[in-house]
Symmetry: none
Subunit: 233 residues, 2 copies
DNA sequence: TCCGCTTGTTACAATTCGTAAGGTTTGGGA
DNA sequence: TCCCAAACCTTACGAATTGTAACAAGCGGA
């Protein structure tokens, strides 16, 4: 279904939580950061559709960051700031921001303004979403996996949901509970089995050795870890 | 390079003056109106780049006007309103406005926000009547598809509706619901089949391999994705 | 009126994906 | 070490979704 990806950059944990909850509720995928350094590192591997940026971060000048983002990324940039002076807003917008929201904000308005940005072609859900990892190439446009030899294997919507979850959080433990939530399945033992099957099918397409999986590793009693070196382009 | 044209629609003369002065100072051409009727009449002869619209006009429902403007797609629409409720803003943005500025406003910010809109021009898709994609050429003048060898295949109105929908949103998921809405079909299981058939016929004309479609891809449970690299001329 | 084209409808084939059932692995305890 | 229960994997099956061929209704032109 290709949900749009929105990044949140703010040093206040409470604000990150509020935004992330509201955005996921509204049907977006989110990635949260408290520091510009971590955010910029993540941009090397992810390609967001919209970036929410707080000015006044401790480890960088927000405006410089905004300017850089606007120039380099295809993403729309929305500033969320406590600085309410008109002059701040004008320079923020001039430096390349697509919108400027003042704290305190209402999450519903943030969602609405993000949707507006996604409507216009600039950030309209980035096409050509391709992730590369360990010789594989996964295209979420054509729903195909391509191996090093160029051989294509289509993957289904359900498999894609799982794959995307992994590709968005490589080398991190993903608990079954998290997975259930992201995949929108009702809780219960029966959906547990359904997830197993999804993962099993995905493993088959990735040609994993059942005895010795290299990419999707099971952590008994805890969840899964995806071990690929992921790069989104 | 001519100056961008901005229209101002507000029933308070003082506001019109302030805005017009600030905008012309900033290098825009402006047209001011106090009534929606006059504004809509002017649209027949002028093609503004940005429209500033006040809600709460005496002779029309502002939101309806905004919606109509947004659909006709030429210009960016910015609402300027005294109604400060979050809900007002959200519905305004949802109905198609590109920005929402609350009175009282600072003219400098209005100018900045207009400039942002001009930076990312809206797609002017409706002018092009010929689309090229992956060796094909689709003409909506003559309702024909032409392949690389120059061989023509006519397509019908119903097929054209589907094709246009795809060509306007390439590489994006189009849900069945969206499609039904755009194609004006009543909901219901029977129309669902009708849509399948339309798409099936279009696929035949595009010589898609049923086992492995390259252009119109089905996402089970979600909708369709058109994978061509589209260029309108 | 007849003919051909378009388009919706019906019926059935094909695909996807959750569910059930049985097998395998894991890790702790005897 | 062996045993066992819980956790996890895989296969097969069936309900839901989607594809397509065949038919019928509607329309316009000769």
């Amino acid at each position: 279904m290709t949900k749009p990806l929105v990044t949140i950059l703010d040093d206040e944990p409470a604000i990150r939580t509020i935004l992330a909850d509201a955005l996921e509720e509204a049907g977006f995928r989110t990635l949260s950061f408290s520091r510009a350094a971590a955010f910029e590192a993540a941009l090397k591997t992810h390609k967001p559709d919209v970036c929410l940026v707080d000015l006044g971060l401790p480890d960088t000048d927000g405006l410089t960051l905004v300017h850089k983002l606007a120039l380099e990324q295809g993403a729309a940039v929305i500033i969320i700031s406590g600085r309410a002076q008109v002059q701040d807003r004008v320079t923020g917008l001039e430096l390349g921001a697509d919108d400027y929201i003042i704290k305190p904000f209402d999450p519903a308005e943030v969602v609405a303004r993000i949707r507006v940005r996604l409507r216009t072609p600039k950030a309209a859900t980035q096409t050509g979403q391709i992730a590369r990892f360990n010789g594989w190439e996964a295209s979420f446009d054509s729903y195909t996996l391509t191996d090093e030899a160029g051989q294509e294997t289509p993957f289904s919507h359900a498999e894609g949901e799982v794959l995307r979850l992994f590709l968005d959080a490589p080398k991190r433990l993903i608990s079954r509970a998290q997975m259930q939530e992201s995949l929108g399945g009702g809780a219960g033992d029966s959906f547990d089995r359904a997830m197993d099957v999804r993962i099993s099918r995905l493993r088959t397409k990735l040609r994993e050795d059942p005895k010795n999986p290299r990419l999707i590793k099971t952590i008994y009693g805890a969840g899964y870890i995806f071990l690929g070196d992921v790069q989104w382009t």
